[in-house]
């Protein structure tokens, strides 16, 4: 388990105070724990990526004040795609100030099953927005909204904050989230240098007479005005002085004027700004008491700081300060200056009470930062979840859902020879299948059958292909013929080489192979297939239930723990008729709830997609171990022309050649995508906009907008995104086609025509590049209701290998 912490703010700020101070203290201590593997991250705004921070230099910089902050950033990017389900992303800084909004980041992490933990100091911008700056309000709403939806654990500095968050969750209709209270430490890692001078104006203020101290930025929430009212009405007359320490914040012009114009300024009223630590320390120690009349706080660190110096505190009577101050504080009504004045007077009139209070404070033991960091570190480790299902040492069974005897018989020799650990097959099949198999199969594997009659048990079989398969697999999970852990496969999956069990079980973890992110799956946009519809349904289900959402339909055999699948069916009893993807439901559930026993890896399938230009894969295989067998790819003129369709001894050498051939085509396709991507980036740099293809279809008109020029790679398909709008209410279709012409209107390529539903808003047009080094015209044609509309732009076809 790795713990990723974003320390961008801490690196960016010029002086460390407030929240960044807390981040520094906690992170330095977490880095020392051997049971935590911490990765520190810095967000690079220009390139929109996270970069790794050098941990050793971080410690030197923030603990020992050695080195520059610029040297902390290694330049090594952190690819969020590499985060594993057992990893934790921990936000402890004021990350709402960063440009990467959590509303965008957290869903990406959640899709991968990463655990999300956040440290919340307060939710004042939500509960008391009137005291906050506009920029803070809008950014904080985004941040807290994201975490309330996606967090697996919330830590807070006080129970009052967790209670406020619970209340907010109820108001929003969201489920509660586990919470941990850690408090804040008071032994800051600051050495007050003996050379640091105490500001003379502070000494002057302190020596003028007995004074009440307020420490903190002057802002509406801190309620300085109430204390000043109390002094103006009574306390100045009685010889008491008032010292404000802190800069002037926002929206306090009237109060600041009142202070600046005060008749007793620098006589009995003092406002000190920019004081160093030594001066603040001095003022605390010499104060009669500290006033803390705030309307709301996340914690109330000045209270602890006053206690540490043995100075009594008068605090506003609000839950958070009652929690932090406990019996060590005295409290007053924050709406009444009289209440404050009376509380103060009771000490002055009864000195023995004041001394009692000081004696009590001497017994105060602040929470140390070590204790805080221990609580946080333990909480991070606690979100590990042990699976109640022991992982077996061996996998020996393979389960097929099949109705095609010949296809299965063609695939089984590959399994027999290349997967020697498999001893037994369970075939979920039509009723007539077993007899045929027993008659024709001569191999070494033991066959067990689960026929449709047994699986359906009287229930109707869905007609849709994807729905039927999902239903049957859900039914099969009840059968005792299946081992607890088995490999699930379709009859067109063939291993390419000898494989060991470690493909599925490695280091005590199941290996899951994903090929896409379900949120990005577009499918056949003009006419979505049954498979596409299943992916969309699965995506919606997973997102609705807050599960990870990668696509595990990788068209290769995968390991399934039947006990966990049954847990899914118990948790969601109605899903078996919904036509979801069994692979994606299972693995995303496993990733979300049992991340410690799954390691997700890029898929390892040859010919998925059948040809590399089938669609733009965003995940690339690390290795190719299985083939998704398409018979038509072996036909004349196709990519596997000349290769054997059936098993023979030594076929693994031929399979290696197939892999090389496919990878070459993949490389060509990737190159074409790179050319197009580079064109888009450069077009954007030139014109300040991403190149856009846009159609607006009306009943008797069509507006086509195309970029000023388009650039593609020769000989490969380039998928161009199209945005379409229409005011027509119809289920009809229109046709979209393209041609490449030279400047003399000679047709160089007559492209494919696609039929698009009028209601389709986004889709892709695959344009094939002709031989490179060409400058010509790209003509786009829309045909609707016997009318033709054309758009033209310049086209550059780039040669491969530039």
């Amino acid at each position: 388990m790795k713990v990723y912490i974003d320390v961008s703010n801490l690196i960016k700020v010029s002086f460390v105070t407030g929240i960044q101070r807390v981040v520094r203290e906690v992170v330095l201590r977490l880095l020392k724990r051997e049971d935590l593997d911490i990765i520190l991250m810095n967000y690079n705004e220009e390139y929109n990526i996270f970069e790794q921070v050098d941990v050793d230099r971080f410690v030197l910089c923030f603990e020992d004040n050695i080195g520059d902050k610029e040297q902390l950033i290694t330049g090594k990017g952190i690819d969020l795609e590499n985060l594993q389900p057992e990893d934790v992303f921990f936000d402890i800084d004021s990350v709402w100030n960063l440009p990467l909004r959590r509303s965008v980041l957290l869903p990406k992490l959640k899709r991968r099953g990463v655990r999300l933990v956040v440290y919340v100091y307060d939710i004042i911008p939500i509960t008391h927005p009137q005291y906050c700056h506009g920029q803070t309000i809008y950014k904080f709403m985004n941040y807290i909204g994201a975490y309330l939806q996606y967090a697996d654990l919330i830590m807070a500095s006080a129970q009052s904050t967790l209670d406020a968050i619970d209340e907010l969750l109820k108001q929003l209709g969201l489920p509660s989230i586990p919470g941990v209270v850690s408090w804040l430490g008071a032994d800051f890692n600051i050495q007050i240098s003996e050379e640091e001078e105490i500001a003379p104006e502070a000494v002057e203020a302190a020596e003028t007479g007995r004074y009440v101290l307020m420490v903190g930025t002057i802002e509406p929430r801190k309620n300085h005005a109430l204390v000043l009212d109390a002094f103006d009405h009574k306390l100045f007359e009685q010889g008491l002085n008032l010292v404000f320490v802190g800069r002037t914040g926002w929206n306090v012009e009237a109060l600041q004027n009142r202070i600046d114009q005060h008749r007793l300024l620098k006589k009995q009223l003092f406002h000190l700004k920019g004081m160093n630590d030594a001066t603040v320390d001095y003022l605390y120690k010499h104060a009669y008491c500290v006033a803390f009349p705030t309307y709301n706080e996340g914690f109330g660190l000045p209270i602890i700081e006053a206690f540490q110096r043995g100075t009594p505190v008068l605090a506003s009577d609000i839950p958070i300060l009652r929690e932090v101050g406990g019996d060590y504080c005295d409290y007053f009504d924050l709406t009444s200056w009289k209440s404050f004045a009376d509380a103060l007077r009771s000490w002055i009139d009864h000195p023995e009470q004041y001394e009692e209070r000081k004696d009590k404070i001497r017994t105060y033991e602040p929470v140390t930062w070590d204790a805080v960091a221990d609580t946080i570190g333990d909480a991070l480790l606690s979100i590990k979840k042990e699976s109640p299902y022991p992982i077996p040492d061996r996998i020996r069974q393979m389960v097929y859902l099949t109705a095609r005897v010949d296809d299965l018989l063609a695939a089984l020799p590959f399994v027999e020879h290349f997967m020697p650990f498999i001893e037994e097959l369970v075939l979920c099949c039509p009723d007539t299948f077993p007899d045929q198999m027993r008659e024709k199969y001569q191999g070494r594997l033991k066959l067990l059958f689960l026929t449709d009659s047994e699986l359906l048990a009287g229930e109707p079989l869905p007609e849709d292909h994807a729905m039927r398969n999902f239903f049957l697999r859900c039914q099969a999970m009840k059968s005792e013929k299946l081992d607890d852990v088995f490999i699930m496969a379709d009859d067109d999956y063939r291993p390419l080489y000898p494989l060991s069990q470690s493909v599925y079980l490695d280091n005590g973890k199941y290996q899951g192979y994903y090929c896409y992110s379900l949120g990005e799956w577009k499918g056949d946009q003009s006419t979505p297939t049954s498979f596409d519809q299943s992916m969309f349904r699965t995506r919606d289900f997973l997102e609705e239930h807050g599960l990870a959402s990668l696509m595990f339909d990788s068209h290769m055999p995968q390991v399934i723990d039947r006990r966990i699948f049954q847990e899914i069916l118990q948790r969601f009893p109605n899903i078996k008729t919904k036509g979801y993807s069994d692979w994606s439901i299972y693995f995303n559930y496993l990733t979300t709830y049992y991340p410690e026993i799954i390691a997700n890896r890029p898929y390892a399938t040859l010919a998925w997609p059948g040809t590399p230009s089938g669609w733009d894969m965003t995940v690339h295989p690390e290795q190719l171990l299985f083939e998704n067998y398409y018979s038509e790819l072996y036909d004349d003129g196709e990519i596997f022309e000349g290769f054997s369709r059936t098993y023979y001894d030594g076929i693994e050498h031929e399979n290696m050649e197939k892999v090389v051939r496919y990878m070459n085509l993949q490389a060509d396709h990737d190159y074409a995508r790179m050319v197009y991507r580079t064109y888009c980036e450069n077009y954007e740099m030139q014109y300040g906009e991403v190149p856009m293809f846009y159609l607006n279809l009306a009943e008797d008109d069509c507006v086509i907008m195309i970029p000023r020029y388009v650039m593609i790679c020769e000989l490969n398909f380039t998928r161009i995104p199209i945005i379409a709008e229409t005011s027509i209410q119809t289920d009809g279709m229109y046709e979209l086609s393209y041609r490449i012409l030279d400047y003399q209107d000679l047709v160089l390529l007559d492209g494919d025509c696609m039929s698009v539903p009028v209601s389709q808003e986004k889709y892709e047009l695959a344009i094939k590049g002709i031989y490179g080094g060409i400058k010509g015209i790209l003509e786009i044609t829309v045909r609707y209701h016997e009318r033709e509309y054309k758009g033209f732009t310049k086209l550059f076809v780039i040669k491969k290998g530039i």
Binding site: E45, E46, Y47, N48, P99, L100, R101, S103, V104, P125, I126, T127, H128, P129, Q130, G134, Q135, I137, Y138, M141, N142, I144, G145, L148, Q149, L168, Q171, L172, G173, L174, T678, Y679, N682, Y683, E684, M685, Q686, Y687, G688, E689, V690, M692, Y694, A698, D700, D701, V703, M705, P707, R708, M711, I723, G772, G773, I774, K775, F796, I798, K799, I802
Partner: protein, 175 residues
């Protein structure tokens, strides 16, 4: 997005109870919640009112609310310009500002501003360096192209309502 909407409503209620207004409109806030940092999706902004469009452009491309000087500077144009003129001027101003260039702000699905060349012409330099044949074919020009009559007419065409654009199409086809 529903959660963000609910949070906005909760906060707005509290602000109103204290006689204060929200720092941005709900529409602009929800828009920014979907955007990658420094990105504005023109498609999603197309139906916004001018005031919301103004906020959304800042929040999308510059990751912040418009500051007081920006509000003051654009207030007059907000009230007096037609939506198309205002929006083009605003987006052009933002996208070519040093702040946007530093952040690497992007405008996607732009249907508002006429593309203009920025000073950097990376693509042409790249091609000239690596592919002499293509460079010769493309006849790359490094200087900013002059705005010709066609560009000016196209600019006017974009401001026309749809019915007039249809008429222009018909006339052009007839000819």
């Amino acid at each position: 997005m529903l959660i963000y909407e609910s949070i906005y409503d909760l906060v707005e209620e509290k602000m109103k109870a204290n006689d204060q207004t929200m720092p941005c409109s709900k529409e602009a806030f929800l828009f920014s919640a979907e955007m990658e940092p420094g990105v504005c999706d023109g498609q999603k902004m197309i139906d916004m009112e001018n005031e919301t469009f103004f906020e959304a452009a800042f929040m999308g491309m510059l990751n912040r609310l418009p500051d007081a000087s920006a509000i003051q500077g654009w207030e007059a144009k907000l009230k007096t310009s037609s939506p198309d003129v205002f929006r083009e001027a605003l987006l052009s101003s933002i996208i070519f500002s040093p702040e946007a260039v530093l952040i690497g702000s992007q405008l996607r699905n732009n249907r508002v501003i006429i593309p203009r060349l920025r000073e950097i012409n990376i693509l042409n330099e790249y091609i000239v360096e690596h592919d002499k044949d293509s460079a010769a074919l493309m006849q790359v020009k490094k200087s900013e192209p002059k705005v010709g009559l066609k560009d000016k007419l196209y600019k006017i065409y974009l401001k026309l309502p749809l019915s007039l654009r249809v008429l222009v199409h018909k006339i052009l086809r007839r000819n």
